[in-house]
């Protein structure tokens, strides 16, 4: 009986690893850094000073990594490298992950103010209950002209809800965030500042969701 149990445990252990889900922002295959200037081609370049976003409802092979949805919400902040790693219990090798980029309406309005929900983190919208799902700010030089930009992307109501489902197949590799692709997509010239839910904000968030692989 003891041998049998050991065999069973060995079988599962060989298919499970103690794992974390690592997010790595990259810019053209290099690690992306805050405050560093990056060329977008031609005379255009950008520097990002703030970059943080919410991830929720993380699932591995279709199963939530947490029983309580409130425990399955994470604020990833480029200024805090430890926040880019989501701790999980054992997960399967060669796993498929899905997650929500942002939070759905129930999480936005739950009134839970602990951990990633703490308004102290600067992501809470007091004037209109809910959370900024993606905050990115910095400066750009476009044709020699310096343009500050600031995007507070949020909202949970149709049609401008900033919550996208993202699926990645990474196994034990970090999830790459393609910052080159994302930074090239931002509307610096037409709308350098967005602070409320709107179609452009929704589009920015949708573009951001295509940058994970």
């Amino acid at each position: 009986m003891g041998d049998f149990l050991r065999c069973v445990l060995f079988f599962f252990a060989s298919n499970l690893v103690v794992a974390q889900i690592q997010f790595t922002p990259t810019f053209l295959r290099s690690d992306f850094q805050l405050d560093q200037w990056y060329s977008l081609g031609g005379d255009d370049s950008v520097q990002v000073t703030t970059f943080k976003f919410y991830v929720s409802n993380v699932q591995c092979q279709g199963r939530s990594i947490s029983v309580n949805p409130l425990d399955n919400v994470f604020l990833l902040d480029a200024a805090d490298s430890s926040s880019l790693t989501i701790p999980t219990s054992r997960i399967e090798k060669e796993a498929d992950f899905t997650f929500h980029l942002g939070m759905d309406s129930s999480l936005n309005t739950c009134g839970f103010l602990e951990g990633p929900f703490d308004p102290l983190l600067g992501m809470y919208w007091a004037w209109n209950t809910g959370y900024i799902q993606l905050k990115i700010a910095g400066s750009g030089r476009f044709g020699g002209v310096l343009v500050p930009f600031e995007y507070h992307i949020g909202g949970y109501q149709h049609p401008n809800a900033a919550c996208e489902k993202v699926g990645v197949e990474v196994g034990n590799e970090p999830i790459q965030i393609d910052m080159h692709r994302f930074l090239k997509s931002l509307p610096y010239a037409s709308e350098p500042r967005i602070m409320h839910p709107c179609p452009t904000a929704k589009r920015i968030h949708q573009n951001f969701a295509t940058c994970f692989h």
């Binding site: 102290l120 209950t129 109501q157 709107c198």
Partner: protein
């Protein structure tokens, strides 16, 4: 001897009634559910009420420590004796005499309120204090500053440690403590309530009764009993104040159809919570009644209640309605020491 017994008996009865009444008061506890009221929307499971947390929340409510320069408390704009509204000021003022854009509403029966603020921008009572604390025209502070002040206060450190078993005061501790107090503000013992409960010897006067009938015909659709609000958003026909440029609900939903819609306020204790409307435009209740009574459909109203069914009341009917509205005053609530000033620092 017999005559003595006879003379003592009424006194004995009065004492018994007082004792029973007092016991009833205590049995209601911090929060109570009035009979025939709907189920509260507040999630008590997430913040179970305790005497200690209620007192901590009450102390915080009355403590100007929450404002950046420690000059303004929640009670500065929400005074108990005026139904926790801000009288004498059309628009409420905060630190350094800064004036905001809106009239601070009364606070009562918040456990049944699904949305907060005149524009419904706040959806959870636990999170609501973030707004006044951080608004530059109100308390002008930040959570970081407030938490640093509280964590640096031996009195609050001790109090939070006792009730939340925490060494470090965090946002959710502060918000839950405040909500313990505000969610407990139940007003359901006005003359109207007593008449509805058919309490012995309590009746409407003829004028109040006439006013009640007018109310049911003209006002009840929006100011529905027992809460005297449906918590919906309506245009009340007062129009835009260009200086304030406050478009109400539209600022939250971004939808033009919501322009100039504001949340329907409760009418409980309305005689005490002057001035009226979101911008405090009317100083007296009779002015509000006159506004509605003379409102015509030609003012570009967006509220179907008024455009389809204009209210036409003559002078006497307006007085009757006013008499009824005064029956919604709950003096037990307004002067209940349970809600009065409290400080941990004097303990």
């Amino acid at each position: 001897m017999f005559s003595l017994k006879k003379s003592i008996l009424p006194l004995f009865v009065v004492i018994c009634v007082l004792l029973l009444s007092s016991a009833w008061e205590d049995e209601r506890g911090l929060f109570y559910q009035p009979a025939h009221w709907p189920k509260p929307t507040y999630d008590f499971k997430n913040n179970p009420l305790t005497d200690e947390k209620f007192l901590l929340g009450k102390a915080l409510f009355y403590d100007p420590v929450l404002s950046v320069d420690s000059t303004v408390s929640c009670a500065s704009c929400h005074l108990q004796y005026t139904a926790f509204a801000h009288v004498d000021h059309a628009l409420s003022h905060g630190i350094q005499s800064r004036v905001g854009k809106r009239n601070a509403p009364g606070l009562m029966n918040l456990a049944w309120m699904p949305v907060f603020h005149w524009d419904g921008g706040v959806l959870n009572l636990n999170a609501q204090p973030v707004n006044p604390i951080t608004h530059p025209d109100e308390m002008g502070s930040s959570l970081k500053v407030v938490l640093a002040k509280l964590n640096g206060s031996p009195v609050y450190q001790k109090a939070f440690k006792e009730v939340f078993e925490t060494e470090k005061i965090e946002t959710h501790h502060l918000m839950k403590a405040l909500a313990q107090f505000t969610v407990s503000l139940v007003s359901a013992n006005s003359k109207y309530d007593k008449v509805m409960r058919k309490e012995k010897g309590i009746h409407f006067t003829e004028q109040e009764e006439a006013g009640h009938r007018l109310f049911q015909k003209h006002c009840n659709e929006c100011h529905k009993a027992p809460l005297f609000t449906t918590h919906e958003f309506k245009a009340n026909g007062i129009g835009l104040d260009p200086a304030l440029a406050d478009f109400g609900r539209m600022s939250i939903t971004q939808k033009s159809k919501d322009s100039l819609l504001f949340k329907i306020p409760t009418l409980r204790n309305i005689a005490y919570s002057f001035p009226y409307m979101h911008d405090g435009r009317f100083a007296k209740l009779k002015d509000v009644i006159q506004h509605y009574a003379t409102l015509s459909a030609s003012k570009g109203l967006k509220s179907k209640e008024f455009s389809k069914r204009p209210i036409a009341l003559n002078d006497n009917q307006q007085k009757d309605l006013l008499a009824f509205l005064k029956t919604l005053s709950d003096t037990e609530f307004l002067f209940n020491k349970k809600y009065s000033f409290y400080s941990l620092k004097s303990k």
